[in-house]
């Protein structure tokens, strides 16, 4: 069974600070996705990383996929109150006989950015 460990689970910071969220596994994933979820809503995809070592940027958010495709990180620069939410990493299960698109989710990181 492939598992994803996400850390930290809770993070409360002041506006303008930087932060990093980690997503680790002992298993290899074919790709990894990051979602953001706001209270009362479903998760929304932020990014998909596919290649080992890949780095993607989305404004103040930087996503990195580990060289061995077992881990990923999300770095937020100069956090804003609008960044507050639940951040989830999700690994795409390695393909067997077909691509089912099944995701393995980490436990999530609840981020609170105070003004």
């Amino acid at each position: 069974t492939q598992l994803l460990e996400q850390s930290p689970q809770f993070l409360s910071i002041q506006e303008g600070e930087n932060l990093t969220v980690y997503c680790n596994s002992s298993s290899v994933f074919s790709s990894l996705q990051w979602y953001r979820q706001e209270p009362g809503e479903g998760p929304v995809l932020l990014v998909t990383v596919v290649t080992g070592g890949e780095v993607k940027k989305l404004k103040r958010l930087t996503f990195q996929f580990g060289d061995a495709r077992k881990d990923s990180s999300l770095h937020i620069t100069a956090a804003q109150p609008g960044d507050t939410g639940l951040y989830l990493c999700a690994g795409v299960q390695s393909h067997g006989s077909g691509n089912t698109g099944k995701l393995i989710f980490g436990q999530g990181t609840t981020l609170q950015v105070k003004p």
Binding site: E41, G42, L88, N99, G101, F105
Partner: protein, 115 residues
């Protein structure tokens, strides 16, 4: 486009009662998924479907049944509800492109309490 919709938004059941959660998508997606979300555990896959008339078990299928009679609808049934099934349930749908994971689009969730 409404995207992914879920009915109902909230429900309270007594132990032993049954109910059906309805998920509908208007994006012509082949793949549909049911997840449950519990505090500190991320999202866990209950059942999924890779096309009309097909269903498969996910990570936590016990106590649930599903049906996909029409491409746009995916139903999740609880035959005899238990307090351990108190959770927030999310439906998602996606395209699948060979060899990679596509975006999963989530509904707004159904909050279920079993007393």
């Amino acid at each position: 486009n409404a995207g992914v919709t879920q009915t109902p938004k909230f429900r309270v059941l007594k132990t032993g009662q049954s109910m059906t959660l309805l998920c509908a998508q208007d994006m012509n997606h082949e793949y549909m998924y049911w997840y449950r979300q519990d505090p500190g555990m991320g999202l866990r896959l209950i059942h999924y479907s890779v096309g009309e008339g097909t269903t498969a078990k996910g990570e936590v299928p016990d106590g649930y049944n599903v049906s996909r009679l029409k491409k746009q609808n995916f139903l999740l049934g609880l035959e005899s509800a238990a307090p351990s099934q108190t959770s927030v349930y999310f439906c998602a749908s996606s395209y699948i492109t060979a060899g990679r994971a596509d975006t999963q689009y989530f509904g707004p969730g159904t909050r279920l309490t079993v007393l």
